[in-house]
Amino acid sequence: MNFLPLWRYQNQLIDGAIVTLELTVISALAGLVIGIAGAVALKGRITPLRWLVRGYIELFRNTPSLIQIFIVFFVLPSFGLKLPAFEAACVALSLYFGAYSVEIIRAGLDSIPRSQIEAGQCLGLSGWQVFRHIILPPALRNAYPAVTSQFVLLLLGTSLASQVATDELFHVAGFIESRTYRSFEVYAVICAVYFAMAMSFKALFAIISLAAFRWPRRR
């Protein structure tokens, strides 16, 4: 075991970690937008749209992320949509994250008892005020743990983008391995970097949760 030959590749590792973070944040934001839009559609009255969203959720939650990335990268070009590796990975991961987000956000909205909404209406609040002050804060708190743990899973899942040659952390690992032939050491270091990133995000989310959701829980 010899970790020394890896030392000079620290710049590549940092660059790879940055691409991983970009991939994660872009996919998470796009996925959340999909999630909110999907949850609104599921709550809406347009039946075909509801079916469409349901179909999308089941399709993306019941097939491997790896195959989804392959399909976006290898299959879409035959329909004239040729995306570079990073963009293709972003699209596939956003759709994957989005499918989980729809369910999480819908569950968050559903967790507010009907009677609370009616209480707000009785106080003479407008539809927007009811949403903003009565539904949104507790719904956010209820959805928050699921969204953040899904975010960490997304961070770890971006490693699959290496399979279509996106220059993220896991791809960098392959590069360093090919230069140093220190396979085990390389992947041990890569695992440690992912671990550090995942733990940092978990700590950050815990702090945000403490600061943002201070009002007491109903007992």
Partner: protein, 216 residues
């Protein structure tokens, strides 16, 4: 280049048995380990609780792909001998399964009220009897839906073994796609097979959740 024919169809379905084999191996070794982790997590001994929590935290904070590579290249380093790829892959999937199932089952065990243990103790049952006859059946009921849900994650996760060159469904798809130049047809078929495996489990998990609703 050749066209997509029956033989490609057959090769996808024969590769499916490796997907199934990986899932079975992961559950076979992972489930007992998960039970150990879950019981360690609710143990009286703080040291044991912390160790198990740390172990689970580490495994859950590393990509599955990273675990696979770590053990694939690491087993010879740890053991000093070459091991078959299947052994390394099984170790990685076992730990992955144990960490996630362990947390799910711990949640189930903790959801059963403390008073139930005490009631068992009052009846003169030993700690093991309390666990076996009072706590475990109720915890099982509570944790069955997420356990089935995890099974879907595991099936999808076996596709990563393709990256180590394991010829399971995803890898067979790559091979067929490269041979026939028909990525659309091949990957659609591969996705459809995964979908056909996972959707029934997802639906089952959801109906269990509705049926065994803990808040009723």
């Amino acid at each position: 280049m050749r066209s997509f024919s029956l033989i490609d169809f057959v090769s996808l379905f024969t590769a499916l048995r490796w997907t199934v084999a990986l899932v079975v191996l992961a559950l076979l070794f992972g489930a007992p380990l998960a039970l150990g982790l879950a019981m360690g997590r609710i143990s009286r001994f703080a040291g044991l609780r912390w160790t198990m929590a740390a172990l689970i935290q580490v495994i859950q904070s590393v990509p599955l792909l990273g675990l696979l590579f770590f053990f694939y290249f690491g087993m010879p380093v740890f053991l000093g001998i070459q091991v078959p790829a299947l052994v390394a892959v099984t170790v990685a999937y076992t730990l992955y399964t144990a960490a996630f199932l362990g947390e799910i089952w711990r949640g189930g065990l903790e959801a059963v009220k403390q008073a139930q243990w005490e009631a068992g103790a009052c009846l003169g049952l030993s700690a093991w009897q309390q666990f076996r006859h009072i706590i475990a059946p109720q915890a099982l009921r509570l944790s069955l839906p997420p356990t089935v849900g995890f099974l879907v994650q595991l099936i999808k996760g076996t596709s990563l073994a393709s990256i180590l060159g394991f010829v399971e469904l995803a890898r067979a798809g790559q091979v067929v796609s490269a041979a026939t130049f028909q990525p659309l047809l091949t990957y659609a078929l591969v996705a459809a097979i995964y979908f056909a495996l996972c959707l029934p489990l997802t639906l089952w998990s959801r109906s269990l959740e509705a049926r065994l609703d803990g808040s009723r």
